[in-house]
């Protein structure tokens, strides 16, 4: 709730400080009341951070699969709602893979994942012209570790605000 307040009140530019990491839930441990002082991230309406905070900016996939899970469907439904609210925003869906496949196959798999996300958003009424896709295969892992937990985080479709 506090984040929403800040989002509305925040008239300044969003900061890049939090990178691609989803923001901490408001009031959580290590959040605004953390020992390091006050977190200074701000969330402009229609921004990437706003999307991540209000809808979730990514969905995850099983190994060698481009199927959207039921959890992913929920996230994409919220993304579609958000995209309807910000009708002038266009997005690029990034498709990513874990490192347990060959490079070129993973480029194709990443494209298939990005397209699967796009298809759900389009089915929810978002015009295809607002959604482009790009595959990064296994070139841009979120977590640079070689274990199943990291792989699960790396097999992702990320909706990025253009």
């Amino acid at each position: 709730m506090l984040l929403r307040v800040i989002a509305v009140a925040g008239t300044l530019l969003m900061l890049a400080a939090c990178g691609s990491t989803p923001p901490e839930p408001a009031g959580g441990p290590g959040g605004l009341s953390g020992p390091g002082g006050i977190s200074s991230s701000r969330f402009g309406p229609g921004s990437q951070q706003d999307l991540a905070a209000t809808a979730g900016d990514r969905v995850f996939f099983a190994y060698d699969s481009a199927e959207i899970s039921s959890e992913g469907q929920q996230i994409l439904k919220r993304q579609a709602d958000w995209l309807r609210r910000f009708g002038n925003v266009s997005v690029t869906i990034e498709g990513h893979c874990d490192e347990r496949g060959t490079r070129e196959y993973n480029l194709a798999l990443g494209e298939r994942r990005a397209q699967a996300v796009k298809n759900v958003l389009a089915a929810a009424g978002i015009p295809g012209s607002r959604i482009s896709t790009i595959s990064y295969g296994k070139e841009r892992p979120e977590i640079p570790h070689s274990d199943d937990t990291s792989y699960a985080q790396n097999r992702r479709g990320v909706t990025t605000v253009n």
């Binding site: 490192e99 196959y105 798999l109 790009i134 595959s135």
Partner: protein, 441 residues
């Protein structure tokens, strides 16, 4: 693009094949390594410094012997003997005293000389001797600009390899690969080019755009690769002589997995559209594009047979990733891999007899080979992540990359078809996606 002609290429007349000193002697008690069978005992060979008159000639004579020795040693088929054991000093100019070489168990001996010609170029002669038969097996002379001495060494190593094994060598070749640096989440990748032994290393791109999967044209003058330079991943051509880069094919969406046809007139590649990936072929002269595969599956990593009549590729059309074969016009698709696990990155040997691939089974990656009909599968090496085999032009050695856990330490390696001779290829930093050039001459 910075360019150095002396490094990049030998121009028309710079490397003149001068004369055959002596025809190979008739075969008697044959000094020969049979590399068609299993693991062989390396042949002891003595390669003393080539004789030279002046200071620069002496140094080059020493360097030539060193590069030839290193080439032959890395092949696993030769064991160059320690020069400190040599009894005869052949640099003094006299013919070989075979007894002296038999005494240190040399079976073959290489002698040579370096002379500076009137025009400043080097003339290099070499002779290969069978120590026990006391016979000359080969003798050639070459002239070249001074900067080109390494190529002369590789050409001599190729001659020795060919005379002893009966197979063409692969030392006068280059490698194009992806040089990697930085953290895994924002890895910087650059096209890089080097001689097969790691010498004459240079970067071809500056790292500002993500680039992947370079492959040589049959002339070794062009490279086709994937670049994110325009934002959309697309297939590009890089001309080594001019440094020019151009995107090829007017495709919507992503194009990737390019490879030249054996005659260099076409590039076969994958294109993704609406989540499906199919194989297309682009005629480089007319720029006409033809579709080869259809359907909702992923069809990628196409590779031509050496005669250009067939294409092997990777597809998940049957549910899991397997290798498939089709004719070059897209007809007659049939599956050729039937083992457990997933198969990818098929690459047809320049000899035509085998297809190399990456296999993933039970969390382990393998590099293997099979016949074009899918029979005779042999796995040559395995690790946490090995990928992307590329053939030496003689079809006897593969190069690939091996990546450590957490995206760490990606390195190039070679392995011969027996699987017994695995060597790291020296690169300045992390490396992946190697491609081996044809023989340069």
């Amino acid at each position: 693009m910075k360019r150095d002609r002396s490094v990049l290429g030998v121009t028309g007349g710079a490397l003149a094949f001068l004369l055959l000193l002596l025809a190979p002697a008739p075969v008697l008690a044959e000094l020969r390594i049979d590399i068609t069978g299993g693991k062989v005992e390396p042949l002891p060979i003595a390669i003393p410094a080539f004789a030279g008159g002046g200071g620069e000639e002496v140094q080059t004579g020493r360097d030539l012997a060193q590069v030839i020795s290193a080439d032959l040693e890395r092949s696993g088929l030769f064991r160059p003997l320690d020069p400190r054991a040599f009894i005869q000093n052949v640099a003094a100019g006299e013919g070989p005293r075979f007894g002296d070489w038999r005494q240190i168990n040399a079976q073959a001996l290489v002698t040579g000389s370096v002379q500076t010609q009137g025009d400043g170029r080097f003339r290099v002669e070499f002779r290969l001797w069978d120590v026990f038969a006391e016979q000359q097996l080969a003798g050639f002379a070459y002239t070249t600009t001074r900067q080109n001495w390494r190529r002369i060494a590789h050409i001599i190593a190729d001659q020795i390899y060919k005379r002893i094994t009966g197979e063409d060598g692969y030392f006068d070749t280059r490698i194009v690969y992806i040089a990697e640096s930085g953290p895994a989440q924002k890895r910087v990748k650059r096209l890089a080019l080097m001689d097969q032994d790691g010498a004459n290393h240079q970067y071809l791109t500056d790292g500002s755009a993500l680039v992947l999967t370079p492959r040589f044209s049959p002339s070794a003058q062009e490279i086709t690769y994937l670049s994110y330079a325009s934002g959309t991943p697309r297939v590009y051509l890089f001309n080594i002589d001019t440094g020019r880069q151009e995107s090829i094919g007017d495709f919507p969406g992503m194009t990737f997995a390019p490879r030249f046809s054996p005659d260099g007139s076409r590039v076969v590649l994958s294109r993704s559209e609406n989540g499906t990936t199919n194989i297309f072929v682009l005629d480089l002269r007319s720029r006409r594009v033809s579709r080869l595969t259809e359907g909702n599956s992923i069809d990628t990593t196409p590779s031509y047979s050496p005669d250009g009549s067939k294409i092997v590729f990777n597809s998940d059309r049957g549910g899991s990733q397997q290798l498939y074969m089709m004719s070059a016009d897209g007809g007659g698709i049939r599956r050729i891999s039937f083992g457990n696990g997933k198969y990818g990155t098929p690459v047809w040997s320049p000899r035509g007899d085998l297809i190399a691939f990456t296999k993933i089974e039970g969390g382990t990656f393998y590099i293997g080979v099979m016949r074009p009909d899918g029979s005779g599968e042999r796995l040559l090496t395995q690790d946490f992540l090995v990928e992307g085999p590329t053939w030496a032009p003689n079809g006897r050695v593969l190069m690939y990359f091996r990546q450590g856990r957490g995206g760490s330490s990606s390195r190039l390696f070679t392995i011969d078809l027996t699987g017994s001779n695995q060597r790291e290829v020296t690169t300045p930093g992390d490396a992946s996606d190697p491609a081996w050039s044809p023989l340069l001459r």
